[in-house]
């Protein structure tokens, strides 16, 4: 059933089989850049993202401030660079939570089978039927606000998708001859599950993780935009767009530029995910 995580479909230019297109490498470069922003923001800007400079308020993008300045005279480029920290960290946490929990559930469900499988998959069906944003908001209501809680909420909403994919892969791998052989040799079932089945099943999960990275950036920024994530004056991508809302009529750059950065990050993640998927299909 379709939820608000729409099947992302990436613009991968058709290339000869075996070579990776320019779109893929541009996407990798963009993600690498955003990760570097998140890890070492001071390398990319000399401006302070939080200290205000009233004399330079609401300047349009120019030589001194490539992305312009906000209503308090803060350099928008610096705020976007430092904002990557909160946004990307929350996204990574969300994907890790969803992937770890989902992979474990899928592994147990597919490997053990029987009534446990039936129960777990019914729960997964139910979770997939509810839009991810509603699940995340429900969790935020229960946990409270903040970047970490938003990350958890987005991650929990992603568990069901990972569990579904992992289980399908485990069922596929389980029937292969080497698993039968390991079972016949009397290898412990837990060892087979973790050492034999998991490595062969993880490929599709990683493709989904790349896709989910884009979805999670959107979800985290939407929740921050609604005011449930990062707290001002700390920069965060979704929050930056929300902050610029008051100045829509006069200062277009305050919303347009951070939004473009989010869109670029999501597109790049989708292109990478799609490339992995196409290649795994070619080889598999």
């Amino acid at each position: 059933m379709t939820t608000d995580t729409l099947p992302a479909v990436a613009a991968v230019p058709r290339t000869r089989r075996g070579t990776l297109g320019a779109g893929f490498w541009i996407s990798v470069a963009l993600i690498a850049l955003f990760l570097s922003w998140a890890l070492f923001p001071a390398l990319f800007t000399g401006h302070d993202p939080i200290a205000s400079a009233p004399a330079q308020r609401l300047q349009a993008p120019g030589a001194a401030h490539p992305f312009g300045t906000d209503q308090l005279g803060r350099d928008l480029y610096a705020r976007v660079v430092y904002g990557a920290g909160a946004s990307i960290r929350a996204t990574v946490v969300a994907v890790l939570v969803g992937m770890t929990a989902g992979t474990l559930i899928g592994l147990v469900s597919g490997f053990v089978g029987g009534w446990l499988d039936a129960v777990l998959m019914r729960v997964v069906d139910v979770l997939l039927a509810i839009p991810a944003l509603l699940i995340s908001l429900t969790i935020v209501t229960a946990l409270g606000f903040g970047v970490v809680k938003v990350a958890l909420a987005v991650g929990v909403a992603a568990i069901a998708g990972f569990a579904r994919v992992m289980r399908a892969e485990v069922l596929r791998v389980r029937t292969s001859a080497f698993v039968e052989a390991a079972l016949a040799c009397g290898v412990r079932r837990r060892t087979i599950a973790l050492r034999t089945v998991l490595p062969h099943a993880i490929g599709s999960v990683l493709v989904l993780a790349a896709l989910e990275f884009g979805t999670a950036i959107l979800a985290v920024s939407a929740l921050s935009f609604l005011g449930f994530g990062a707290v001002p004056p700390n920069p965060e991508w979704g929050l930056l767009v929300a902050d610029g809302r008051t100045f829509l009529a006069s200062a277009w750059w305050l919303t347009t530029i951070p939004g473009l950065v989010i869109a670029l990050a999501v597109t790049a993640a989708n292109v990478i995910s799609r490339t992995f998927k196409d290649r795994s299909e070619v080889h598999g």
């Binding site: 979770l127 509603l134 429900t138 209501t141 610029g244």
Partner: protein
Amino acid sequence: MGAPARYVAGRLAQGAVVIWAAFTVTFVILYLLPSDPVSIMLSQGGDSTGVSEEAESRLRAEFGLDQPVLVQYATALWRALHGDFGDSITLGGAVIGHILQALPQTVLLTAVTAVIAVAGGVGLAVAASATRSRTLRRVLTNLPSVAVSLPSFWVGMVLIQLFSFRLHLFPALGNGGFATLVLPAVTLAVPTGAVVAQVLYNNLSGALRQAFVEVLRAKGLSERRILLGHALRVAVLPALTLVGMNIAAMLAGAIVIETVFGRSGLGRLTEAAVSEQDIPLVQGVVVVSAAVFVLVNLVVDLLYPLVDPRISHRATAAS
């Protein structure tokens, strides 16, 4: 009972399971996590030290929180079956009243969104199928993948900047009449329209390769007549299903969109309920969203035979 009636009954039962599941999931998250309405109410009051333990336990008893969990669940489910989700903590009054008051605006928004998504998606797919320019086709077929990567709140603001502030075509905010509906509906239609365009384009390519198209060509029909009159009719059905499936996503998307455009409705109510941690209201919203989703998909299913005479629920019910 005839076959169509049995089919509808089966679908209603499935729908009831989805709604029950939505209730159960929200109950588990909202009431079993280490927070409950009383502790949130008390912490919102500022210093919780001022509240005596006696008063707190009286409040808990009032909400039934001193009961065992399963009893709480059964009571809540029984009440929800009668449309009673309790009272809103922050707004006062029955949750269901607030929801029913907000629902029409959002249903209207979703309906207009669905129309725009279908029109835009069909238009894009037909244009991509009809064009002879390879470059244009590549641009048109890649447009949807870009569209689903855009943050919806940002799309909304860019549209406000362009069409409200620069061109003064549509009002930026509010719920006054049809003009205020256009920009939010277009924004909300972007992701669904993108998926419709994509699926429909693939279906059209498939339909144009079918044998009946060769027959039509042999009969001398123009390519345009074949595309619009015949292939489109075969290809459009799965795209309609997609819209039905995306209704839940649109309702969720309305939370963000109604906030951006300052519209009142179910989405705004949800946003307010979450910011105030109004647990009964949040649960009511999720369950009602699930119910709307189930109803819309049931209607879409029943409309199928009207669009495509090859489908009848007699056949599906028998198989």
